[in-house]
């Protein structure tokens, strides 16, 4: 069996294992072991990839394996990873692992919860290892649908409505993708030739420009919905606010990046000419995402809404950077995917933990919490600093790279868009510091809160895992950007010519 198949096999086995458990204790231990193995596998994959770098040319996929599935339609189960996928898999491994520990006290229907969560993770891992568009779509939809149950059953607030909204909007995105992928398939060879879903093969054959112009927007918007592309972002605040902690972490941390990854890997990579021609439309939309998300976050009082809007803004920045279509900006975009994934997962984990203690997410009802729950407070500040791009944290490296890349375009349109987007940094600082100031500093607002206890061991496991990763990227970013850049250059040669 190929090594990469383990990334799907381990979660599936974990799900089967959970079915044999009886209660919360069994379910969470099995999940923790399963996802722990997954984390170790991800780490191994990263180190293996780094060790290969010395050897030389790496623009081929590693662990490439190809199994025929539906021979008549030339659908294969093709897997393989490059540096970007490796980085995304590592991100997923970390966030899922932290998510299991953030759900340690899931009392209501625990087995069902962990099963749904890990099915979701299976979909994400499967998506990142797939090179065949059909398999990719299958894993993508597999990741979306458990979300309905996770939010609907274990969520808070208007959860049924949010769950339905999120699921339908994402599946509508996936509906566009179906058309886009079929379009790519039927243009993947000269008429009468053997069509294929295999991305590595499709790239070799240039799609007709007319077809590209029709299918690029469908595919880009299809994945863009998941990346909260304005104006299709409205599922995000509602969904994230209602979702249970681990789901918010995974969704904002990994799934939204999955959307951005798809935009890059499928839409832009396979249809580069249309991407060049139509980028301006999406640059406008993503600029709006960035600014609108940031201002949205300023207005909110609910911690989860603040972070949901902040995610819209940050993922908008990722899409914006991708559309700049030069090496530096795209390099920054991928860095930002990892960095924001970790950071926002940390945010949502902490919000869940604080909410579990104070039973409110309204920042006006909290104050002076830093003295009472110092560990969680400090962690929140760290996440905040990373989010507003303070040097020393991952966010700085990523955002700087993006802006430098974006400024390389000398024309008016790109300059204006870049300046608009850069201005969002200031707004980001405002909403982050505002929360820190109101919630953590100052006098104690609610005397009940004086009795709160600080983080338990499993909460520490969850948060420290994420903080180590964030600091790791911030302090020594080169290993990550090396991993990414090695694969990025051959990819970009396709896109940039």
């Amino acid at each position: 069996m190929d090594f990469l198949n383990l990334f799907v096999a381990v979660p599936v086995l974990t799900v089967i294992g959970i079915m044999f458990t009886k209660d919360l204790k069994g379910a969470r231990i099995v999940s923790a072991i399963g996802m722990g193995i997954q984390l170790i596998l991800s780490a191994y994959l990263v180190f293996y990839y780094l060790s290969l770098q010395g050897v030389g040319d790496l623009h081929n996929m590693i662990f490439y394996a190809d199994t025929v599935w539906y021979a008549p339609l030339n659908i294969h189960y093709t897997i393989g990873v490059d540096g970007i996928a490796v980085a995304m898999i590592a991100l997923t491994g970390i966030v899922v692992f932290a998510g299991i520990f953030a759900s340690w006290k899931m009392e209501y229907l625990p087995r069902e919860f962990f099963i749904s969560l890990i099915i979701l993770a299976t979909g994400v891992f499967g998506f990142f290892i797939s090179l065949d568009l059909f398999t990719m779509l299958m894993f993508y939809e597999l990741a979306v649908i458990p979300m309905y149950l996770l939010i609907g059953i274990w969520g808070t607030g208007p959860k049924e409505r949010s769950a339905m909204k999120l699921t339908l909007m994402l599946m509508a995105g996936s509906a566009l993708l179906v058309v886009g992928l079929l379009g790519i398939y039927f243009n993947s060879a000269a008429p009468g030739g053997t069509y294929t879903f295999n991305m590595v093969e499709i790239v070799k054959h240039q799609m007709p420009i007319a077809a590209q112009r029709f299918f690029f927007p469908l595919t880009f918007v299809g994945f863009g919905v998941l990346g909260a592309l304005f104006p299709l972002h409205t599922w995000s605040p509602d969904g994230h606010a209602s979702a249970p902690t681990a789901v918010s972490m995974l969704h904002a941390g990994v799934l939204m990046k999955l959307g951005a990854y798809g935009c890059f890997r499928v839409a832009m990579y396979l249809m580069p000419q249309a991407a060049h021609q139509l980028a301006w439309i999406f640059i406008i939309l993503t600029s709006i995402s960035v600014v609108y998300g940031a201002f949205g976050a300023i207005k909110q009082k609910d911690l989860k809404f603040i972070n949901a809007y902040s995610s819209v803004s940050h993922v908008g920045l990722i899409l914006f950077a991708l559309l700049m279509m030069n090496t530096t900006a795209i390099d920054g975009a991928i860095l930002q995917m990892i960095s924001h994934g970790l950071m926002t997962a940390l945010f949502f984990a902490l919000i869940g933990m604080i909410y579990g203690r104070t039973h409110t997410r309204d920042i006006d009802k909290m104050g002076g919490l830093l003295k009472i729950i110092p560990f969680l407070g400090v962690m929140y500040i760290i996440a905040g600093f990373a989010s507003l791009g303070l040097p020393g944290f991952s966010g700085f490296v990523a955002e700087m790279t993006i802006f430098v890349g974006a400024f390389q375009h000398a024309d008016m349109f790109h300059r204006v868009a870049t300046i608009v987007v850069v201005s969002s940094i200031v707004v980001t600082a405002v909403y982050i510091l505002r929360v820190v100031g109101i919630m953590l500093l100052g006098p104690l607002k609610n005397q009940e809160h004086a009795k709160l206890t600080d983080a338990t061991w499993f909460e520490r496991v969850s948060t420290i895992t994420l903080v180590i990763a964030i600091a790791g990227i911030g302090i020594v970013p080169l290993w990550l950007s090396d991993t990414i850049q090695r694969s990025l250059h051959p990819l970009l040669q396709m896109i940039l010519h």
Partner: protein
């Protein structure tokens, strides 16, 4: 061809007729207080029939070309047989009710006789055999729909079905007479050769599509569906929505592909419009239903719209995707109907709002229902995803990307109402949920088969390969 081969080629039809007669005779000789043993007897008989029909036979034609059997038609008949077997396993609970004890034999015999009609229809080589088969398959259906004859809704369903079905048959026959007039023959092979887009032929084609549209319940010929589905006993509803519709889809596809293959452009325009209407209107009506039978009725109308996409692909790929989708649809829809039947038999509940809190009391049934609904909605990894994707592939192959776009957006709308049922079972709280109950053995067996089918068909790519290979024989 020896006589023995004749018999062998007709094995589906002969076995079904024999089974119907044997069951009726057996019921005659059963004492009144032991009538329920007829159920077990019929199940055994029909299981043997289904298994025996799987034995392959050499393809051939009979009666001077009026009847043709090949591996494709055999497969279609086998799919219908399996569907009916599942329905029989699911109907034990309903038939055991005291009010049904005097008419158990009729239930099985009438279904088997409609099956004979459908099998002749699928194998027909001329329009006369086709029409006789169609009528044989339609008339007993009215009796079945009115099986609960003392319930006014059921009686109404029977009357509605027979009246509207006769009108549809009349229209169809009128169309067939025009086709005969235009081509001078009733044999498929002859007509195909002489096929030209003459005005008379086009008019005949329109009438033909309308008549078949009624049987497949395409919009705007669907108006009977919801009332009949609601009024008929739930097992009959399952039969109507899976088997009866499936047979009509099969022969509709075959005739369009073989007889009308020279004027593909013409009927594709009609199918385009019908597909858009059927998917959209079926969906919009399904959104507002609370009765599970009406809900499944409209959902099955919408599904018929998706099937048209497969037909529009034409060629062996189109044929294969349609047959494959019907195979998936058998397990999927019967899984959903099976759960609804079990719940109805145990508690009398047949509304979606009555399902609230079902997961707390009957987790296994809820899970199977969820799987079936996800499969209907086309969510991976269950079989419906593959079935639908291949239908879309078939239509996209001819460049109907806009139609595929309309279809996938409709699939998203359909997800909403499937999720409403999931929400009722898994999320909504209920003070008095349906109490825990144990289904009959037959029901559990049938649901296990459906669950297995829903899971396995998608991954076992060999099934699709097989269907595609035998579909190529048609062309």
């Amino acid at each position: 061809m020896t006589n023995f081969q004749y018999v062998f080629l007709l094995r589906h039809e002969i076995l079904l007729t024999l089974a119907a007669v044997v069951i009726l005779i057996a019921e005659l000789f059963t004492a009144d207080h032991k009538k329920t043993s007829v159920i077990t007897f019929s199940l055994v008989v029909f299981t043997i029939v289904t298994l025996a029909s799987f034995i392959p036979a050499a393809p051939g034609t009979l009666f001077g070309g009026s009847f043709q059997g090949d591996r494709l038609t055999d497969l279609m008949k086998d799919i219908l047989n399996v569907a009916v077997l599942i329905i029989f396993f699911q109907s034990g609970g309903y038939l055991r009710r005291s009010e049904n004890s005097e008419k158990i034999g009729e239930f099985f015999a009438l279904i088997l006789l409609t099956m004979v009609g459908m099998d002749f229809m699928i194998s027909s080589g001329d329009f006369l055999t086709f029409f006789i088969g169609l009528e044989t398959a339609s008339i007993p259906l009215a009796g079945l729909a009115a099986y609960d004859r003392f319930k006014s809704k059921s009686a109404e369903a029977g009357v509605k079905l027979i009246l509207l079905s006769s009108i549809a048959s009349g229209i169809l026959l009128f169309g067939l007479s025009m086709i005969y007039g235009a081509s001078g023959s009733i044999y498929f092979a002859d007509i195909a050769q002489k096929m030209t887009a003459s005005p008379l032929m086009i008019l005949g084609l329109i009438f033909f599509i309308s008549g078949m549209g009624f049987k497949i319940s395409l919009v705007p010929f669907h108006l009977w569906t919801a009332d009949v589905y609601e009024g008929a006993p739930i097992n009959i509803t399952a039969y109507l929505s899976v088997v009866s519709k499936g047979a009509a889809v099969f022969i509709f596809t075959i005739i369009l592909f073989t007889v009308f293959k020279n004027i593909i452009d013409l009927w594709e325009i009609a199918l385009y419009a019908l597909a858009v209407l059927t998917m959209t209107i079926g969906n919009l009506f399904a959104l507002r239903q609370d009765n599970i039978k009406r809900f499944l009725a409209f959902s099955s109308i919408a599904q018929a719209g998706f099937i048209l996409l497969g037909i529009m692909g034409t060629g062996s790929l189109g044929m294969a995707t349609v047959v494959y989708f019907m195979l998936v649809y058998v397990f999927t829809n019967l899984g959903a109907f099976g759960v609804a039947t079990a719940i109805y038999n145990a508690s009398g509940v047949e509304t979606i709002s009555g399902y609230k809190g079902l997961y707390a009391t009957n987790p296994k049934l809820s899970l199977i229902m969820m799987l079936a609904l996800f499969s209907l909605a086309g969510i991976p990894p269950v079989a419906g995803f593959f079935g639908k994707f291949f239908l879309f592939t078939s239509a996209a192959k001819h460049g109907y990307f806009i139609l595929v776009l309309i279809a996938v957006l409709n699939a998203t709308i359909s997800l909403y109402y499937y999720l409403v049922v999931v929400k009722a079972m898994f999320i909504d709280k209920n003070e008095n949920p349906i109490a825990f109950f144990k289904s009959t053995k037959g029901m559990r067996l049938s649901l296990a088969i459906c669950a297995l089918g829903i899971f396995a068909i998608g991954f076992a790519s060999g099934i699709f390969d097989y269907i595609l290979n035998i579909s190529k024989l048609l062309f």
